[in-house]
Subunit: 479 residues, 2 copies
């Protein structure tokens, strides 16, 4: 560099500090089990340790790294702890993190084919690979009418889907003149909150989201959906969007696609299938019965950033008719025009998502798939499911506890028979103790504990120990 005054970190310095940071992460993963899973700080405590004003002069990188340990780490909740059973996991793995590093170093923008041909084509390619690996409908392939794209999250995938559905239902009239309060969307009472949020953002209004009743296993009742659709049409409403979930967040319920699909088709309504967590299980043929009926879907998503060892963000989103999606989301200002786009031979992924800019996220999926191979991914998924099933067996055999629903995969819902107060106390005490972290939900108006068995570093012994401690603390509290 010819600027003697440059403040940039030189490539030599980057090598030195980069090795240090890599070693820091390796040591973090090796030692994370000794840390309390849930951060033990009070609101405001982390900020209180930080200087009130930004530095005028730059500081040595070693000082910054030391402050990471000193000032930041006490406030970290350890999602990569093997006893992290809360929510759904947000897994990392070596190959994914190194691909994220490469993507950051390359700093490629994939908004259009021309701004990153490899970024675009590798993404199309690995999403086609995943259609094969997960046995998804052939219409989702890029060589068919559809195709796949990486979104940041299932929330954004749902919003993209609902906007496409809205425009298909109104012949782009809502795109031109705005929504008119007549469009209606449908989801079960167990559907993830991101659907309500997408319905509201897209201008449909939350009163136009029908929450359809569920059966004893918390799966959508298709006859209730059919009735709601018919009632809305009779009332002059315009049904446009149905969400079915393969593996709900609360209890891993499986909405019955083979029954829901034909109802959506009959009413000409867009069917979006959300398999954010459970989608990864479809790597294993023995679990694919859970996605039977997926050929009815207009769109589908699952999150490798949950259970497929690909660090956040990485949601894979497919549509059966890419034209419907692109019509609803495309923009082409003069400053983005180019010959490749005009030729019609390329994909410009900006038209498949909400934002304009996009990182080179396909690298992560490519690295993960190649490092593990299909069989490596299957191995770990099968282990998680097997441990969850073992845990379910232990719970069912214990007189003090109830297995709330038989787990279809790796999410286990249980409760102590002593009532909500006892369950809340068990959860609070164990989470505060730092040895594990799990979360709760409400089912049948009762507080239910949920253990999601799927963190990258979780082993059978962590599941065993979690159950032993839950029983012990249950006994201590309920007497």
């Amino acid at each position: 560099m010819d600027d003697p005054q440059s403040y940039h970190m030189t490539p030599e310095e980057f090598r030195t500090w980069g090795h240090r940071v890599v070693d820091w992460i390796a040591a973090y993963w090796q030692g994370v089990e000794a840390r309390p899973v849930l951060a033990r700080v009070q609101p405001g405590e982390i900020r209180a340790g930080l200087p009130a004003h930004p530095p005028q002069q730059g500081e040595p990188f070693g000082t910054v790294l030391a402050d990471l340990d000193r000032l930041v780490m006490p406030g970290v909740t350890h999602w990569q702890h093997p006893a992290f059973f809360a929510y759904f996991p947000s897994n990392v793995s070596g190959p994914a993190v190194l691909a994220e590093l490469l993507s950051a170093g390359l700093g490629v923008q994939g908004m259009a084919w021309i701004t990153g041909p490899a970024c675009t084509e590798l993404e199309t390619h690995v999403l086609d690979w995943l259609v094969e690996m997960l046995d998804l409908p052939p219409a989702f392939r890029s060589g068919s009418t559809g195709g796949g794209v990486i979104q940041d999250s299932a929330s954004s995938a749902a919003l993209s889907a609902i906007v496409a559905a809205r425009e298909r239902a109104t012949g782009l009239e809502s795109d031109r003149r705005g929504c008119d309060g007549r469009l209606v969307a449908y989801a079960s009472t167990q559907t993830h909150s991101s659907i309500e949020k997408a319905v509201r953002i897209a201008g449909l209004g939350k009163e136009n989201l029908r929450l359809i009743d569920v059966d004893a296993r918390f799966a959508m009742r298709p006859e209730a959906l059919a009735a709601a659709l018919a009632a809305d049409r009779a009332a002059g409403k315009v049904p446009c969007f149905v969400v079915a979930t393969v593996g709900t967040t609360s209890s891993n319920a499986m909405d019955p696609l083979p029954a829901i699909g034909p109802i959506c088709r009959e009413h000409g309504v867009w069917l979006h299938v959300d398999a954010a967590m459970a989608g990864t299980a479809m790597l294993c043929p023995e679990f694919r019965h859970l996605q039977a009926g997926l050929e009815w879907a207009d769109s589908y998503c699952f999150n490798p950033h949950k259970w497929m060892f690909t660090n956040f963000d990485c949601d894979c989103f497919w549509v059966a008719d890419r034209a419907a999606l692109v019509r609803a989301l495309s923009v082409l200002p003069e400053y983005l025009r180019n010959q490749a786009t005009e030729s019609g031979k390329v994909i410009d992924y900006r038209d498949w998502q909400i934002p304009l800019g996009r990182r080179f996220r396909a690298l992560k999926l490519w690295f993960v798939i190649r490092h593990y191979g299909t069989e490596g991914l299957q191995h770990h998924v099968r282990q998680h499911v097997a441990w969850a099933q073992e845990l379910a067996g232990w719970i069912a055999a214990d007189p003090d506890f109830e297995l709330v629903v038989p787990p279809p995969l790796n999410l286990v819902c249980l409760r102590h028979r002593g009532g909500d107060t006892v369950n809340q106390a068990i959860m609070d005490r164990l989470n505060a103790g730092g040895e594990m972290f799990f979360s709760h939900t409400r089912l049948r108006d009762q507080l239910v504990l949920r253990l999601s068995i799927g963190q990258t570093w979780t082993e059978r012994r962590h599941v065993e120990r979690a159950w032993r401690r839950i029983r012990e603390v249950g006994r201590e509290i309920a007497g």
Copy 2:
């Protein structure tokens, strides 16, 4: 690990390969100048090199890394090339990339305070720091009525702002019952395409986006805005959202906030200010006159991932009234309830953005600010602006070329006097040659070449050379 069958990369392997990847990136940055900036591949060429089917067995990491060089790199457009002058830059730097690596390794989800207290509080803190560093209005501070949040992009920030604006204008009626076709948004004819996209996604309809006329320097004409607002109100419409830009994408035009602000206030309309690129310049007091009037803004964003050496994605978004934003975007399903949230003492950033999940992006900003210090960032910004001003002088002095507008900062718009065909040919030939990459726009119905001087590794000699080559090729083509 007690699983002898594990397919995970071990921490030891991660150390070894991590060091290799760090060295790869350092070498890439050192050698990037020798590569053609714009990828020289045809549509489909990268895919054709990839195996049609995913691997059943995992592969050695060294093979994957070798394939990165062999199969992927030929399709990369080099955004980190010092002669990348296209669009706006998407800069990386050593400290930012290492923070991204740490963020990936930690794998923290910052959707709620409890899921990542440090992730949340460091974000609030550095966004308060930036209020000071950029001299933003005090209402944007977290200790006031407002606050800041990191979004993925200015597109998503605009969508969040428009949804908040929509709900403020209708008293949450559109959130409940949906849009009704009466809401109207306003932006100049030069506003970024993301605004039209946000207006469409939010259900307002593109016919309800008024594109306000601009003056000779492509800045919004306030009297035209006032007239449009008055006409819409007289027609029974509901004006809700005005976007003003500090540094448009086409020509870096500066919309006059001191005149626009009072008009918005008079009509009770939400004013969003988009300074995606130019915002970084406000680190330097001598450029802050360009954001005079910002105290009228209800929301504001700029992108450190463009010009502030913080790798994508990192858009900083502030609101003056956080309650208006949170009301429009909050969801709280049972499985996300927790004591910290109920206490009201914490920020749950999921309610400040479209998606639920979020990475620990504040680490990047913290590392960048501490590595460079305010003075280091100022140094590089001042250099870029000085070189752009030099280039503008050379253009103005050349009889064959025209400086289309005087550049306020570091975006230079020029054209050869030979007409559109000559300019298109100059651009196509130089971009195809691989020695530099710049893009175009249309202003006054003429094709205009744009050079954005702001890539991390750009030096004065790259700007000099770009101008010399543009002149040479102009002479060759125009004779």
